[in-house]
């Protein structure tokens, strides 16, 4: 962006005649232009910059409705201490609540994001190759992304209901016994393969989390399709034709030409989707709340869908004595996302540009 800006200015400068300089000078006259950015800056500073600093401040306090006591790094000590590893009632070492949320979130991210991107690529590639009714198909694939909301989540809750859900009915027709889905805290891999020697925390997402992943993939694939289509349309047709004339088959063209050329798009999607997925809240809240008891149950069953944002929500909003602690967990999330953003900037600035 910055190169573009200076480039533009340089072009303007090189064309400058004396009259133009006179006109330009009126717009260069100091502070006038700043008036235009004042409204935007007031809101940005009040609701974007200030909360970052204030959040860091809150995380150093024991805080419920207001500040109680300044406790320095105590919240962080608790977070990385018994929040990570703690002892259960029998005295055995178990995963703490913060580490549990991190594991849940990472399970969610590393499955939902690549799946959604892979499916998005396949669909975009097929659409790119051309098909009848391409326009309508593209609209249908894109619709979930635009409509994704609590309202649409409701139908998933019903489809995956353990008693009356249509998904269980469909599975039964191919001989698979009904599943508990959103009520099932057991890791999906254990349900499939046994693996009783594996501790639950290392066995991947619970079946309940799998339902949320299915919803998220459904809701986000359309975005990836659109971005990939725009990337694919930038690949020169001559290159593809030349490869075909040289006798390269469909698969070869796809793997050796299209996939490498489109890799900047893949990288972009991977990072931005990961950043967004780390903050997942709505589907977890809407799909898991009712399966437990009352409003505090989002993240059920047995906290196996308790992603970091839902964890923060729970501690901040439903246990108002833990606001400082929730703020500390927010800072941990911010740290993770900051690292991801840095990676994006580092590698992103080196990547090839696509139109």
């Amino acid at each position: 962006m910055n190169e573009m800006d200076t480039g533009n200015d340089a072009v303007v400068a090189s064309r400058m005649t004396p009259q133009r300089l006179l006109v330009e000078s009126k717009r260069t006259s100091g502070w006038g232009g700043m008036l235009y950015i004042v409204p935007a800056f007031i809101i940005l500073i009040l609701f974007e910059v200030w909360p970052l600093l204030f959040g860091a401040w809150i995380s150093l306090w024991k805080w419920n409705i207001g500040p109680i006591e300044f406790i320095g790094l105590q919240n962080y000590k608790t977070m990385f201490g018994k929040g990570f590893i703690t002892r259960d009632f029998k005295g055995d070492l178990v995963v703490g609540e913060v580490l549990n949320s991190l594991i849940v979130t990472v399970n969610y991210v590393i499955i939902a994001v690549p799946t959604s991107i892979a499916i998005g690529f396949v669909i975009a590639y097929l659409l790119f190759r051309g098909s009848r009714g391409e326009g309508i198909l593209r609209t249908m694939y894109f619709l979930p992304y635009i409509t994704a909301s609590v309202a649409v989540t409701m139908v998933f809750a019903w489809m995956f209901d353990s008693h009356v859900g249509v998904v269980n009915a469909l599975l039964e027709t191919i001989g698979i016994s009904p599943q508990k889905w959103l009520l099932e805290p057991t890791p999906a891999l254990k349900l499939l393969f046994g693996l009783s020697w594996l501790p639950d925390w290392a066995a991947g997402p619970s079946q309940a989390l799998v339902v949320i992943i299915i919803y998220s993939v459904w809701a986000s694939t359309g975005f990836n399709v659109v971005i990939y289509l725009s990337g694919l349309s930038g690949i020169s047709k001559e290159v593809l034709e030349a490869a075909k004339l040289d006798g390269a088959g469909e698969w070869k063209v796809m793997t050796t030409i299209i996939w490498p050329l489109i890799s900047p798009t893949t990288f972009f999607l991977l990072i931005t989707s990961t950043i967004a997925a780390f903050q997942v809240f709505s589907p977890v809240f809407a799909l898991t709340r009712k399966s437990g008891t009352g409003a505090a149950s989002a993240g059920a069953p047995l906290d196996t869908t308790l992603t970091i944002t839902v964890f923060i929500y729970r501690h901040f909003y439903e246990r108002s004595n833990a606001v400082g602690y929730a703020a500390a967990v927010s800072m941990l999330l911010f740290g993770i996302l900051l690292v991801l953003t840095m990676i994006q900037f580092r590698i992103g600035s080196r990547r090839v540009h696509y139109q």
Binding site: M154, T272, F334
Partner: protein, 302 residues
């Protein structure tokens, strides 16, 4: 037709020409899976309580039970209409406000010159790196302790501040650095000669923005407007946190209410879901091109 032409030009690979058909079949199958939840929602919205809770599920309702829609509309304390009014107020005010505030800033960054412009623009872009979920708790505090509002004193204590107001739902998300960036990109395309011509006609910079820059940037304005509107229509977390009063809450929170009250009667829940989703679907179908352009634009953000 085109397949025939290619067959002539590349005769050595006949297997390719069955593929377009296979492509279509695969795409249609995929689309069926994608659209299925919507179909199931529509079918469900016409089912009685018995039909929606039968197992194995009854695919088609025995008759179209339109009363589900009536029940869904009338069930909440102030009808679903009240939630709709709330969402419309919040979404339209927020999005129009966003367009105005962002256009002013984008115009300054694109066309005007002032001290510190580059640093200030970098600062705007920098705020894109702050994830919304991080600002949740402090922003709640800011709303709750907003001075001189909702019974608060000048130090922000004593009352509830902007908690449970439209303003709390509208103002915090009103800017969006990315929108400033998108609008600026578009405003920069306008040749500087236009500004000179306008000045000879006696225009000032604000009139120039209003009469020339904005009308010339209509497509991007529409895109920013639509994406802002849909984002606000579908929002959950922020309104959930800054409101408690059901008469001020938006439609997505109505869905949470239905989930609690009608967990046994999926017909009514599906009817409500459909009513809440339909406006966005219609908007999308008519304005699809603008949506796609906006999304592709967001792909250039990195």
């Amino acid at each position: 037709m085109s397949a025939e032409q290619i067959r002539v030009s590349v005769p050595e690979a006949p297997s390719k020409f069955k593929l377009p058909k296979l492509t279509t079949v695969l795409l249609v199958l995929g689309a069926c899976v994608v659209v299925f939840p919507f179909v199931w929602m529509i079918l469900g919205s016409f089912k009685t309580m018995q039909e929606s809770s039968s197992y194995p599920p009854q695919v088609f309702p025995s008759q179209l039970h339109w009363e589900n829609y009536k029940n869904a509309w009338l069930a909440p304390p102030n009808t679903l209409g009240k939630y709709f009014i709330n969402t419309i107020i919040v979404a339209f005010t927020g999005t129009i406000g966003q367009l105005m505030v962002c256009s002013l800033a984008a115009y300054a960054f694109a066309q005007l010159k002032f001290r510190g412009k580059d640093i200030l623009f970098a600062l705007v872009l920098g705020t894109m790196m702050i994830p919304g979920e991080i600002t949740l708790i402090p922003n709640f505090m800011t709303i709750r302790h907003f001075p001189l509002m909702g019974g608060n004193d000048i130090l922000g204590s004593g009352g509830t501040g902007l908690y449970d107001t439209y303003a709390a739902q509208i103002i915090p998300g009103m800017v969006g650095a990315f929108n400033i960036f998108l609008l600026r990109q578009s405003f920069m395309q306008i040749p500087k000669d236009f500004w000179e011509a306008a000045q000879i006609d006696g225009s000032n910079s604000f009139r120039y923005l209003w009469e020339v820059v904005i009308p010339m940037s209509k497509p991007i304005m529409i895109t920013v407007f639509l994406l802002g509107l849909v984002g606000r229509w579908n929002a959950l977390l922020w309104p959930l946190i800054v409101t408690r009063d059901e008469t001020l809450r938006p439609v997505q929170l109505a869905m949470i209410w239905y989930q609690g009250e009608f967990s046994a009667d999926q017909g009514v829940v599906m009817a409500a879901s459909l009513l809440v989703t339909i406006p966005i679907v219609i908007l999308f179908l008519f304005m699809q091109r603008h949506f796609i352009e906006g999304i592709v634009g967001s792909g250039l953000k990195g």
